[in-house]
Each structure stands twice: as C-alpha cells, then as structure tokens.
C-alpha cells in the first residue's frame, strides 16, 4: 500500500525517475545530484529503473575514481538459502580472510594522510587463551587452589588487536566473527526506513542509497557486524574491485552503514565468498542450506556445531564447528 501511494505521489509531483528536471544538478556540501536525491528504494524500482540507476552509478564510479566498473543486480536464485560454517579448531588467526574481504568488497582503506580514519573491516578475528589459571584467584571468594579460571569462549576476555610475530600461538585459539546472516535479524527489525532487509536467499543487505545513517542497526546487532562510513571512503584506483553488486561491494558513500553480504556479487554468480577462497587451512565452508549434499549441510549434520549467542533467538545461518 505504502509503495503504491508513494509511486502515485511521485507521478503526480512530476518527478518520476524518467523525468527529473535538472537531474544532474548537484546540491552543494552534501554533494548529491537531484537524480540521486529522488532515487527510489531498491525494492520499489522496476527493472527499467534499476538499469538506469546502475548506469548512473557506473558513470559516477568512473567520474570519481577513474575506473570502469560493472554493477550487477543479480537476483537471488530460487531454492537457495546461503549458510556458512567455520572450523574454529582449524583457524590459525592469520587474518587473511579479513584482508581478502577488504580487497573484494571495496572497503574504505586507511588513509596515510589522515591516520584517524582507519580501514573498514567486516571480519573481526578474536584471540582467546586456551586456558588461564590464577591460582587462589584475585578475588577473595575463590577459596580453592584451583582459583579463577579463564577458558573457552569468553568474549570479554578476547583480544582483538593481537599482533605476535607468528600465528598460531601455542596457547591461543582464534574465532573470526562477521555478519551471522540471522534468520531473525534484530538490525532489520529496528531500521526505521526499511533500508536493510533479508533477501530470499537469506542474505541481509543494505540499500546504501536509502540508508539515513541513524545507526540504530549498529546498536541492535549482537555480533557487532555492521560498520559506518564516518567519512568519505578512501580507496586507491588500483585497489578497486570492478566487479560489483548494487547490494554488495559497490563503493559506498559517507554517512551510511555497510556489512558482510556473503560476497553477494560472487555467490549469486556461482563463486565462493572471498574469505572462503583465501583461507589457507580450509576452515571456512559455504553452501546452500537447502541442498542436503552441500558442504555446509554435511558439516551441520556430521560435526558438533554451535551458533553465537543462540540465547538471543536471532537464528544465525553462520555455524561454528570443531572436528
């Protein structure tokens, strides 16, 4: 209903996408053209409108970054729901997945001239102590000799910025965390503009041209999987991955939220996510949860799996397992 009313309004106001007067007029400071300003929600666009928007975005990429890019709008395949499995026993904490993800998904890089602007990374690898005992304990209420023990996955004891000369370290283990592609995503629920949603193949996506940048989704995510463009993205021409998806790795603008999309530009076109491909120890598995023969389904059936913060009822499609 809302969609229809909106479309009628746009027609009446004479600003239907086809005929925006002064479409290329640029609003200063916020640096947005009128055509962009009146762009519709992705899900409300007809195929024709999508095509036009994509052409414009490709042109803008060329103007701004000097690179010829291809922005796809590949739709989800029927009968596919993507799932992920990660073997934390195998993970060596090398962070190759982190950097492969950044390269693949055109994240904003660290700007050497402006050191306060760090690189945006969608994967965070946590380092844990396998086992740590403080005999007697620091607190008085630990009376036995066994004392205060840190063991297993205690997120608050995790180290996010570990930096030893070599990984893996003997007494440590590692757990990468990225978007868990929840079946019941709290981030989607809280978004005031429906700018983020769950696609039929289970991927949570963001329409970067519809997000208002309120960051409610960042507050709502229990896995800290969402990132914000605090400034204009910084990315060098030669680092740009020109194979892009509208809902995925096209270069974002300042003031919007982004997140892992299971490399939608790859996975919807028959390839593995970049993090799966790069992992040197084969700890990462990916596939169709609806296909009983897929690797990810076999992992779920044969291995001991668990999901992060299961008690929150988010139903992640990201499974951790051990051999």
């Amino acid at each position: 209903m809302v969609d229809k009313g909106r479309r009628d309004f746009l027609k009446k106001a004479g600003i239907a996408a086809a005929a925006i007067p002064f479409a290329n007029l640029r609003i200063p400071v916020i640096d947005v053209t009128l055509e962009e300003f009146f762009q519709k929600h992705y899900k409300e666009m007809s195929e024709e409108e999508k095509k036009r928007v994509v052409e414009r975005l490709e042109r803008q990429h060329k103007e701004k970054y000097g690179v010829d890019v291809e922005i796809m709008t590949t739709p989800p395949k029927k009968g596919v729901v993507w799932g992920y499995a990660l073997n934390i026993q195998k993970c060596i904490g090398c962070r190759r997945c982190v950097y492969a993800c950044v390269r693949e998904n055109n994240q904003s890089r660290a700007n050497p001239k402006e050191p306060w602007r760090g690189e945006i990374q969608w994967i965070r690898v946590l380092e844990f102590e396998k086992f740590e005992i403080h005999p007697g304990g620091k607190a008085k209420d630990f009376r036995t000799k066994f004392g205060e023990v840190i063991a297993g996955i205690n997120l608050e004891e995790s180290e996010h910025y570990y930096n030893p000369p070599h990984v893996p370290e003997k007494e440590k283990f590692y757990m990468p965390i990225q978007c868990q592609q929840c079946e019941r995503p709290p981030c989607v629920k809280v978004c005031p503009t429906k700018a983020t949603w769950k696609e039929p193949d289970g991927i949570i996506v963001v329409d970067y041209n519809w997000c208002i940048g309120c960051r409610f989704c960042i507050a709502a995510c229990p896995y800290w999987a969402r990132r914000f463009n605090w400034s204009d993205p910084y990315i060098r021409k030669e680092e740009i991955n020109p194979k892009m998806h509208y809902l995925g790795n096209r270069i974002r603008m300042r003031g919007v939220v982004e997140k892992c999309t299971f490399c939608i530009q790859r996975t919807r076109n028959g390839r593995y996510p970049a993090c799966v491909e790069i992992c040197p120890v084969g700890a990462r598995k990916f596939g169709n949860l609806l296909d009983p023969e897929s690797e990810v389904r076999r992992v779920i059936e044969k291995k001991r799996v668990f999901r992060l913060k299961e008690e929150l009822g988010t139903q992640p499609k990201f499974f951790y397992f051990i051999d």
Partner: protein, 422 residues
Amino acid sequence: MRKFIDFVLTSVKLALTGSRKYYAWLASLLIVVLFGAFTYYYQLKYGLIITDIRDQVSWGSYIANFTFLVGVAAAAVMIVLPAYLYNYKEFKHITIFGELMAVSALVMVLTFVLVDLGRIDRVLHLMPVTGTPNWPQSMLTWDVIVLNGYLFLNILIPGYLLYKAYLREPPRKWIKIFILISIPWAISIHTVTAFLYGGLAARPFWNTAVMAPRFLASAFTAGPAFIIIILQIIRKYTCIGQPGCKLVVSDRALFTLAHIALISMLVNLFFLGSEIYTVGYAATSHIAPLKYLFFGLEHDGVLYNKLQPYMWVAITIEIIAALLLLFPKTRKNFKTLNIACIFAFVGIWIEKGMGLVIPGFIPTPIGEIWEYYPTLMEIMITLAVWALGLLVYTLLLKIAIGILAEDVVHPSAKGKEMPEHH
C-alpha cells in the same frame, strides 16, 4: 483570519522588542547557535568523522542529549495534569510555561536527531509517501510519530490559548480534548524513547524492563527542577510578581513543583538502585557496562574509566538534591531549593544522558573496550542545539508574558477583561 495575522504580527513584535539585557541575552545565544551552525557545516561536508563516535560506540553526545531532553519535554505533563485533571488552581497560571518548555525541548530533541544522522538529505525516507517508514516494527518510526505529534499538540494548545487571550475571548471547549490527549501523549514520548534502548537484546545494559519507568521518573525530576528555576527568573525580570500583575507565579506553585521533583527523584533513585542490585547481585557477565560506569574496566593492564568521575558526581549530587528536597526547611528556602534543582537537573543530565548511552556500548557485543569522549566540534554543535532551544524558549516566553501579563491585546479587545478560563 485578519485577527490571526494581527496575532502573529504582534507576537513577532513582542518577541523582538525588549530591554537591553534582553537583546544581550538573545545575541549571546545567537552567537553560540551560529558557531554551532558553522561547525555543523563541517560535519555535513566531511561526515561524522569530526565527532568521536565510532563503530564501537556508535551514538554519543547528540543521542545522549536527545534522550535527556525528551524527558524534559514529557515533564510538561506534571504541570498540565494537576491543572486540568485535579483543577489545581496554583498551576493554572503556569501551565503555559510548561507547554512552551515542551516545545523548546522538542526543538532540541528533533535537532539532535537530525545532526546525528549520517544522511540528513534522506530524512524524508522516514515519512510516509516520500519514504518507507518501518512501522510498526521500528521503535524509531514510533518515535518520529509520537515526537512530532507531541510537538503539534504543544504548539496548538498554547498557541490557541494565547490567541484567544489576545482577543480577550474565552477558549472554545474543543481545545480541552487536545489538552487531555496531551497528557497520555507526554507519557508515550518518553516510553517510546526508553523502548528504543530497552528493546535491544544485544545490549544487556539497556535491555531491562525498568528502562521506561526509570526514564519517566527521572524526567519528572529534571523537568520540574528546570521550570522552578525558570519561573523564578521570570518573576524577577518581568512584571509578574509585582502587585497588580494579571499573572501570578505563587510560592505555593513552586513548592508543589518541588514536591513533585522530590517524589520523582526518590522513585528514580529507587529504580536505579533496583537496576544496580539486580545486575550487581547476579554478577553475570552483564555487569561489565555497570562496572565500567562506576569503577572502570581493565584490559591488558590498562584501566578504562573516562566516565567514572562523572557518574560519581551525578549520583552524589542527585542524593544531595533528594535530601535538600526532602526536608521542608530546605525545600521552602529558595537558596537551598535552587541548589537542589540545579543538582537534580545536572545529575540526571549526566546519569540518563552520557551515563546511559555510552556504557551500553562498552564493551562491544563481542568484547572490545573502546572509550568515547566528545570532540571539541561535537561539543560546539551540542552547545549550539542547547542555545537554539533556549533561544526558542526565550522568544516564546516573551510572547506569552506579553499577552497574558502585560496586557497586550488586539485593538478590538481594548478595555475588555481577561475571561475566567485563562
């Protein structure tokens, strides 16, 4: 229509004429607003990078002040309710000041939300027809509805009453319906704002049922505390308080407000204590944000405790305020009453502003400790929004006092007495 235009023109004239002191006050507020606007231009141009808000602590000073001020706006109900539901005479003369406080607070509330947005150019995406509001799912969509509705009510009601007073005519009955609606509506704005936080399972510090009750209790302390000070200033600098003035701000009205602030403060401290007990006694890992707030968190030998001193100050002055309000001797002495009011206001500003928003993010849901401290530019913008609110409040008060107390009337109503209902 002609009369209404006269009303608007008279209002503008009233707002813009005054003593030298009045102009100096307006000018100083305006300077702060302009500095902030200039700073905001940079934020618009370079993004929120000019603040210290980051992925780890993704809301900061803007949203903290937003949260606090929604409470101040809601607190107008503490004057409207006794005046209209209980026909409490002492409040009849001061309801207008409460309603105008709500308007000014809402101006700040909405401005704080707008300056916090990453893409203010897309704000219409929140609205029906021009956007796709996620209603009824998103609490932020609810907040847009209730806040704008409340703003509408609080412009309509005092606006209409002032217009009628300007014509020296009694107000029509239909306005009473809107006044009565405004009472539960005031509760709703702060409830929805509490639900923004309370509904997030990812943030155990906020994910508690006591959030909305606590919000209301603290609001009903801070709002009356603020208005007690304002009413005394009005009494001092305008004709109110001088013999023969049409408008009376009685000591009794102020002491009743102090009583309301006292009870609300005690309830607020009780809720805060319940929260601290529940989280502290259970001592699960959910204790971390609270520990951060009061003692700081340690990681790798480094102690992170930037908020700690503020929180202890907040609790201390809140308790002092409660004690000063508790004893009739100090409550009915304007010197101690004013100290109590300032302490209550500042204490709650810290406790449910930064003291509520920031620890919700620390540690992050995956265990990182990252501290936030507003940048100078962020503080400038924050101050400017406050100055804007005070500016709006000053202008509105000037108009209201002009019409209600200083006998500014429409030419056609010259010589007529003010009807009873005002």
